[in-house]
């Protein structure tokens, strides 16, 4: 952990020495890695995010302390949520809602409940917390966000949550000192590949003081990449290879287990 912090400390020193007139708090963050590779042994990962608050020079420390909200948004994808209904005795997918460009991954990590950090108006404007995040639906051609307790929206968030893809944790950010904090971004094993945006917001006394953006990438490495690319871009060749493999395994078995 110390080793990871060293470049951070050096960076802070440089920032401090640059002598820009600091009018308010600054926020500096760093991720433990910016590229997460998925190989055959991938069972999920925890990314560590470190950050520090550089207080206003000469001003007294804030009495209420600082609040941090880290929002991680994965690649966006249009998905459909289906609801089953009983039709002539059997349960069938009857109604559906399409969520346009919904994040495939959404993590909201804070040091205390977001309700205590900012007022509802600010939460809605800055999209703080899963409830305040826009999840626009395609309603017969019109794309619009719906009320928070829309059953399809609630079901969608709940299902994503069960997969570990949508999460909101109010105790995930820990302050190591009054200005230095860390948090872990949990990535489940079925996390989608792509670019993930990390948005760190600093609050004090219910107001946002600073904001810092960064990003990391999740990609399939080596064999997994080869297979996924092959399946997507060279479907016929991939299918022929799989069939060839099947014939080879079948033939090998007939040789190995031959009894006559």
């Amino acid at each position: 952990m110390i080793r990871r912090l060293l470049p951070l400390v050096a960076m802070l020193a440089v920032l401090g020495a640059s002598g820009a007139p600091a009018r308010a708090e600054r926020l500096v963050t760093s991720l433990s890695t910016y590229r997460v590779s998925i190989a055959s042994n991938f069972t999920g990962a925890d990314l560590v995010l470190f950050g520090t608050v550089d207080p206003e020079r000469g001003s007294p420390p804030r009495r209420g302390g600082y609040d941090i909200v880290v929002t991680v948004i994965g690649p966006r994808q249009t998905v459909t949520t289906w609801r089953k209904e009983r039709i002539v005795g059997i349960w069938v997918n009857a109604e559906s809602r399409t969520f346009v460009d919904a994040p495939t991954y959404l993590a909201v990590l804070a040091n205390r409940p977001v309700e205590a950090i900012a007022n509802p108006e600010l939460r809605r404007r800055l999209q703080i917390g899963i409830d305040s995040t826009l999840l626009p639906q395609d309603i017969s051609g019109d794309v619009a966000d719906v009320v928070r307790d829309d059953p399809f929206r609630k079901a969608f968030v709940r299902l994503r949550n069960e997969h570990g893809l949508y999460l909101e944790r109010s105790n995930a950010v820990t302050f190591l000192t009054p200005t230095l904090f860390r948090t872990a971004i949990p990535l489940p094993s079925d996390v989608p590949v792509g670019t993930y945006e990390v948005d760190v917001k600093l609050f004090a006394d219910g107001a946002m003081l600073a904001r810092e953006h960064s990003a990391f990438e999740i990609y399939k490495a080596g064999f997994e990449q080869l297979v996924a690319n092959g399946a997507r871009n060279h479907g016929i060749l991939y299918g022929l290879c799989t069939s060839g493999l099947a014939l080879m395994v079948g033939w090998l078995a007939s040789v190995v287990f031959r009894r006559d």
Binding site: I38, A39, S40, N41, F42, T43, G44, Q77, T78, V79, T80, T81, W82, R83, K84, E85, R86, G89, I90, W91, V92, N93, S96, T104, F152, A155, F156, R158, L159, R160, H163, S189, D190, P192, K220, F223, E224, V227, A228, A231, R232, G235, I236, Y238, G239, L240, C241, T242, S243, L245, A246, L247, V249, G250, W251, L252, A253, S254, F257, D260
Partner: protein
């Protein structure tokens, strides 16, 4: 040991998948069927997206039926001419099946179609097999000779035109029902992720009167080609064949099949048919249960391309 499946995009236990392959392979070897009707539901049950399960199982069935076909070929227990004619229908049926699969997936009704098809098909076939084999067992208990329904009685099928002589099977039959049976097997195989051996064998015996000694070998050839073809088509159109998953299943399946085949030889054929009938019916009832009972989770999320 966990392994990441690159297409299903989730991590599974290798040994669990391998043991499932072994167990289904054992059953498939014992009854001389592909075992897809057991494998696909099992994979769905452990959380593999249904579409990926169906598409990947086709590869596994191709592997196990190839082993079987080679064995029967060595014993000359298959009819190449009949297999070729079945394949004509089989290839067309598979193409139609993969097309329907894509359409159903696009409109979100794939799961329900798979469910209802399993229920109807397995329920019917299972019940018929149980009835037929139970009668055979009762007859043999009473000391009566087992009825061999060959020759003599003619079905309407035998009056159809375009007749062809199949030397190996010693029969003279119209090609229309042969193509039709091939088409049906190819079609439902591609949609449901099953080889269709448990359907094809009775169809060949009861509808075409194919001699029992060449039935299983011929059925394996049809299953092999339609499933290998379905694998290519599923890979080319839906991009859902998970080669890692398929490989683990293949290795488990062909190994289990060898032991199953030895076990199967020790059991009398009508008892074997009764067992298979019970198994088929049980899987069908499991699907009925899932369709009729209110599910715990009424909602599901489907992406436009993959399935999460």
């Amino acid at each position: 040991m966990q392994i990441y499946l690159p297409i299903a995009e989730l991590s599974v236990n290798v040994f669990l998948i391998f043991v499932m392959g072994l167990a289904v392979g054992f059953i498939s070897g014992m009854f001389g069927i592909g075992g897809g009707f057991l494998m696909t539901p099992l994979l769905i049950f452990i959380g593999i997206p249904p579409a990926v399960a169906v598409a990947s199982v086709t590869g596994q069935i191709a592997a196990s039926s190839f082993t079987g076909a080679i064995t029967y070929w060595r014993r000359r227990a298959l009819d190449p001419a009949l297999a070729m004619m079945l394949l004509v229908g089989g290839i067309i049926g598979t193409t139609a099946g993969v097309w329907l699969f894509s359409v159903l997936r696009a409109v979100g009704q794939l799961d329900i179609t798979i469910g209802v098809s399993y229920l109807v098909l397995l329920g019917t076939v299972g019940s018929l097999m149980i009835g037929e084999s139970a009668q055979a067992i009762i007859r043999s208990r009473q000391g009566k000779p087992t009825e061999i329904r060959r020759g003599g009685s003619h079905l309407w099928i035998h009056g159809l035109p375009f007749k062809l002589r199949f030397k190996q099977s010693k029969m003279y039959v119209s090609t229309i029902p042969v193509w039709g049976i091939g088409f049906i097997i190819g079609f439902i195989g591609a949609v449901m992720g099953i080889g269709g051996g448990f359907l094809l064998v009775p169809m060949l015996i009861y509808l075409l009167r194919v001699p029992t000694n060449v039935v299983i070998g011929t059925s394996m050839v049809l299953t092999l080609v339609t499933m290998a073809f379905a694998t290519v088509l599923h890979a080319a159109t839906n991009h859902l064949v998970d080669v890692v998953l398929a490989l683990i299943l293949m290795v488990g399946g062909v190994t289990g099949a060898q032991f199953g085949a030895r076990a199967g030889q020790k059991i009398r054929s009508e008892q074997l048919r009764l067992l298979l009938g019970l198994l088929v019916l049980a899987v069908g009832l499991r699907f009925a249960f899932a369709l009729v009972v209110q599910p715990d989770e009424l909602y599901m999320v489907r992406t436009a391309e993959g399935a999460t």
